[in-house]
Symmetry: C2
Subunit: 470 residues, 2 copies
Amino acid sequence: MNQLAQLNNRIVNRVNANLAEFDFDTQSFVNNSLDHDKMLKFYAFYGITSRHPLYFHFKKSNIAGSYFLGKCYVGRSAIYKSDVRGDELKREGDTILGAKNIPLVDDEMIVIRDSLLYKTLVHSNSHNPESPEEFGIRNTIAAHYVNIHGSTCEGCFLGPFATVDLMNLHSCIVGEFSYVQVGELFHRKVDPGTVWIKNQNFEFKYKFQKEVLDHYAGVNALYQPRGIIYDFVKEREQDYEKLFDVMNLEPIYAPASSAVNRYAVTQGKTRIGENVLVSQRAFLENAVMGDGSNAQENSFIIDSTLHGLNVTAHGGKIIHADVGRGSFVGFNSFLNGKAKAPIEIGEDCIVMPHTIIDAEVQIKIPDEHLVWGFIGSASDIENHSISLDDLAAIRESLTMGKMTFMGKGSVFIEAFRKRINQILSTNGALFQDGETRGHAQDDQNISFNLIQPYSTGELKGLYPSIRIKP
Amino acid sequence: MNQLAQLNNRIVNRVNANLAEFDFDTQSFVNNSLDHDKMLKFYAFYGITSRHPLYFHFKKSNIAGSYFLGKCYVGRSAIYKSDVRGDELKREGDTILGAKNIPLVDDEMIVIRDSLLYKTLVHSNSHNPESPEEFGIRNTIAAHYVNIHGSTCEGCFLGPFATVDLMNLHSCIVGEFSYVQVGELFHRKVDPGTVWIKNQNFEFKYKFQKEVLDHYAGVNALYQPRGIIYDFVKEREQDYEKLFDVMNLEPIYAPASSAVNRYAVTQGKTRIGENVLVSQRAFLENAVMGDGSNAQENSFIIDSTLHGLNVTAHGGKIIHADVGRGSFVGFNSFLNGKAKAPIEIGEDCIVMPHTIIDAEVQIKIPDEHLVWGFIGSASDIENHSISLDDLAAIRESLTMGKMTFMGKGSVFIEAFRKRINQILSTNGALFQDGETRGHAQDDQNISFNLIQPYSTGELKGLYPSIRIKP
């Protein structure tokens, strides 16, 4: 057996050992996802800027089609077409929430060992106070379009379109299209289609109906993704190819305060405002990006207008929609408007992560509303949205359809607002007069470097050991 | 001053210190050659195969547009658009001529420190028995289209189109378009346009007239190249650009036993026979490459036929010519035939390195002849060629025009034949039934990897430190 096959087997066995209590076998997922020929075909990339600490070390791994920025170690792993974007890692001397008295003794580094990340995003920084210098992912398999966002993972399987946000997971299974932000989780299986946010002050929980999930973002018996969202993404895959076929692309016009990543698709009549960030593998078609708006990795903005100061979180999809100023669209949301049935989101709205809006009639969300779950018709709006004022008035709990909320609504809204402002600031949306720089300003001059695996011999499919530092 | 400018200054000062006795100042050459904007623009490449030892370490250097294969360290140097092709380096346990009792304790590595190599080729392996594991280039400036072929250099300036072959140089100046293969050379200045081969058995020496040299491959007051050969190369530079603009090229058809490097230009009606090697930055246009022929780095074969088992050494240029089976065309030769005045080289001929044939009438060299120097008309043939039989009869010395030969002609011919056969073998021309593999067979599956410098900041123009091993 060649070394690439051995690598896959070792990862499968290690993850299975961690998930033994669930009687969960990752073998069929891996066998059906990994195509060794494709793992030979694609280049890997790393980006170099003068504004981020630099350290890459790749060893005994395949990293085909993946993109790396910042500081990252990858050992005995297969990282296929993934984005590992370490430009928000903490620096030496920084402190972390929950460990304010433990300043980092070193720049933080993403460390991926014995893991398989398949079309996965790894981003932000570790929110684990136990390991502030290391954003660790070990013995973990993450499937198609998973977002590992500021979360350390040990011995986990994350299903397609799952998001784990600002937390730490140990020996967990997170079902497809689930969003979890609950601090710390040990030996738990999270059902598919769960949207779950919890801290000491509040808890938000929603669960998609099985039939809705199967229709939009389910998995088949082999844990491979299926459904409308997967088809939507897959149909557009070939549009990325031209980005990777040529060395130098004529860039789309963007103001000096904005960054459009060279590996983003921009087509049709697309306009870029000031302080805009368009990340690697974002997809814009006939998109108006108002000042201070962003399109993060794996997001799609098609035939839509973002009026300004908008966050489109990783994997968010906005089609035939008009998004008011200051509104936030969360991870992996699917706002599937049509030319004859557009979607209108008012100002300062919060579209919760993993929200699906897909109706045959126009859907209109008023200003300052929270939206969640599945809206398949005009009547669904009632049970899947609430004005922020009404939510702020909640003191103990609220149940609406399949959503339950516990805690003070005002605290929840305040926490969300704070986070949105922090995201805008980090991404450079608030840049003015040379102050408050963010990714839109700092990520403009990235040098991209390409690496390839051995194409023949015993090491075929593995990359040489490579170490890069300033 | 930024670090790239500091780097240049340091190299200039170090080389000047080594050449102080000649009152030679490299400053103006460097100032006029190096364009810092261009040093930012081009990617560097390295190749990975399963058949060559792998180790790259680049540190505090600019390596724009350069290509690396094998094992190579570059420190505090500027290597601009150069080919550093380490696929003929010796391996652990090998021995070297002149030190048969000292087997290598490590694989050989090319080590370049404090040097500027500008469009230079570094190839083969060190023929210095004093440092068999290290092919060292230090405190050296090599100008446009220099060939550093199996030669260690310390404190040298090598002028445009110079070749140093299988030797060791210490504090030497080698003039433009000179070819030197004389074992070891200390503190010497070699006049421009000198073709000089010397060992314990024989000596061959020829010197181009100054006016011929100025016309074809001179330098101006700033040590920049000028003349017809430089113009010829420069005119075709843009044809290489398309090779570097796209990630994947549709390869030209070649038999399974042949290798056409992905960074070679092949255009017009070009045909590739069996066991053919076409190297990086070779240029073929309407070229018929007979079985077992090769086109090495920076060679040009245009509107010409090579009948088979032909060596076109690095920088050789063959235009409107017919080259008979088994004939050898040496380094940087310029066989400038025209449609109405073609050049015909017979079988088993030796065209000496740095030969220029450029006449307005057809030039025909019979079988088994040695050719050298400048042939600008039919009458020049008489004084610039000799049949190998006549040369073999020479016992002590021979003078023909500006050429002098001392020693036994038969020994000279035997040494040359041996070397040609070794070149053919190394390049895979003699491959048959799976035996006698060479570059044509081993260099087919090269994975190319691209790296870029910092594009902004204090380190602008320098490459991050990068270390690559298996």
